[in-house]
Symmetry: C2
Subunit: 208 residues, 2 copies
DNA sequence: AATGAACTCAAACAACCGCTTGAATTAATG
DNA sequence: CATTAATTCAAGCGGTTGTTTGAGTTCATT
C-alpha cells in the first residue's frame, strides 16, 4: 500500500490547491464542484471520496490558508526588537501581505482567501481565536510605548483598521496595480500609511 | 393608463430594493431570483418583465447605489472650507460611511453594496469614472497643503488606502460591533485613523 | 358593455448544481 | 496467479437555477 496512497494524496493536494485558487478569486459562494475538479484534473467523485463534501473541502482549504497566514504574522511580530519604532511595527504587521503581493503565486491566493474570510467568516474560525488574540496582544504590547495617551480599546480599533486596509489592498483590483510597483516603493508607502493609521491624528493634539 | 403603471413601478422599485438588500448581504454571486422575488413579494416573471434578466436587475441596483454614494461623498467634500484641517478632510471623506453605519437601514445596504463593488467590480462601472476622478481631485486639492513633501501618486495611494479601510469597516463583521458604539465615539476614532493614514508616518521624518 | 394595453401569475423549460453509485483500474499481498 | 483493498471513472440521481410561456387579472378607453 504505497504507490496507491501516494497517488491519492496527490489528487487530494491538487483538489485543495485548486479550491484555494478559486476561493481566492471568487469567494466561498462563487465556486463549483466541476470547476475545482477540472482545475485539479480530477473526477467529481474525488471530492466526496477524499473530503466528504465540497463544503468540507473549502473549509479545510480556508482553515489551512488562515492558519498559514496567522503563523507568518505571529512570527514577523515576535521577531521585533523590544524598542522597535512605529515604522518597524507597521512593517512587521504588513510584512506577510506585502511579501505575498510581491511574490504573486500561491501565497497571494492564501492572502486573498484570508481577506475574504474577514468579510464572510467561516463557521469554524473560532478554533483559531487564540492566534488572533496572540497577534492582537503582541501588536498592543509593541504599540503602547509609542501611544501613551491612547487606551487599549482605541489601539485595537486602529489595529483592526490597519488589518482591514491590508486585506482590502490584496482583494481589490488596486492590488493588481500595486504588484506592478517596485517592491521597495510598495514597502515604503505602505509602511508609511499603516504606521500613520497606528499613530492616528487626533483632533486634540496629545501626541509626543 | 394610470393605476396599472403605478402598480408596475411599485413592484419595479420593490424588486430593486430587495436586490440591493441581498447584494449588500451576500454579493453578486450569492443571491437567487426566487429570493429576490420572495423578499419583494413579486412573481419570478416580474424580473424578466421589468428588467429583462436577473443580471440586468443587479447591475441597475448596483449602479444606482454606487451613484448615490459617490454623489453624497462629492457633496461632503465640496462643502469643505478652503483652509480645512486634516481632520476635517478625513471627517468629510468618511462622513457618508459613518452616517450609514449610524443610520443602519437602506443607506447601510447601499454602502455595503458599494464596498463589495470595490472588490468585484461590475462591468459598467467605467460610466461613473468621472465621479471617481472628481472625488480624487477634490481630496488631492485639499490634502496637498498639509503634505507638501508628498507627491501626488503617494497621496492617491493613501486616499485609496483610506477608502479601502472604510469599505472594510462596513463590510466586515467588525461593522456590526462598530454600530453599537456611540456615534460620537465612532466619529472621533475613525477620523483619527483616517487622518493618520492621510498624514502617514514616513521613516524619513519630513513632516511639518 | 366591449376593447385593448399593462401587468401578474402558475407552470413548465433546459441547464446546471452537489452528490452517489457500481463498475473499472491499479498496485500491494497471499 | 488469485485476492484484496485503495483509488478513479462515467453515468445518473433529485433538486435548484434563470428564463419563458400563455392564460388570467386589472383598469383606462371607447
Amino acid at each position: 500500500m504505497d504507490l496507491r496512497r501516494e497517488a491519492g494524496q496527490r489528487t487530494r493536494d491538487a483538489l485543495q490547491m485548486a479550491a484555494l485558487e478559486l476561493l481566492a478569486q471568487r469567494g466561498q459562494g462563487g465556486l463549483t464542484l466541476r470547476e475545482i475538479t477540472d482545475l485539479a484534473g480530477a473526477n467529481v467523485a474525488a471530492v466526496s471520496y477524499h473530503f466528504g463534501s465540497l463544503k468540507a473541502l473549502c473549509d479545510e482549504a480556508i482553515e489551512h490558508a488562515l492558519e498559514r497566514y496567522l503563523d507568518s504574522q505571529i512570527q514577523a511580530l515576535s521577531s521585533l526588537g523590544p524598542d522597535s519604532t512605529l515604522q518597524e511595527i507597521a512593517a512587521a504587521f504588513a510584512g506577510p501581505m506585502m511579501d505575498a503581493l510581491a511574490a504573486r503565486g500561491q501565497d497571494l491566493a492564501v492572502m486573498r482567501t484570508v481577506a475574504r474570510v474577514g468579510i464572510d467568516p467561516p463557521q469554524g474560525w473560532e478554533r483559531l481565536a487564540d492566534k488572533f488574540d496572540q497577534i492582537r496582544s503582541q501588536v498592543l504590547q509593541r504599540l503602547t510605548p509609542h501611544l501613551t495617551g491612547v487606551d487599549d480599546q482605541e489601539l485595537i480599533f486602529r489595529t483592526r483598521c490597519a488589518a482591514g486596509l491590508l486585506n482590502w489592498l490584496v482583494l481589490a483590483p488596486i492590488g493588481a496595480e500595486l504588484a506592478l510597483m517596485p517592491a521597495e516603493q510598495i514597502e515604503r508607502q505602505l509602511v508609511a500609511v499603516v504606521a500613520g493609521a497606528f499613530r492616528g491624528a487626533p483632533t486634540v493634539t496629545d501626541l509626543d
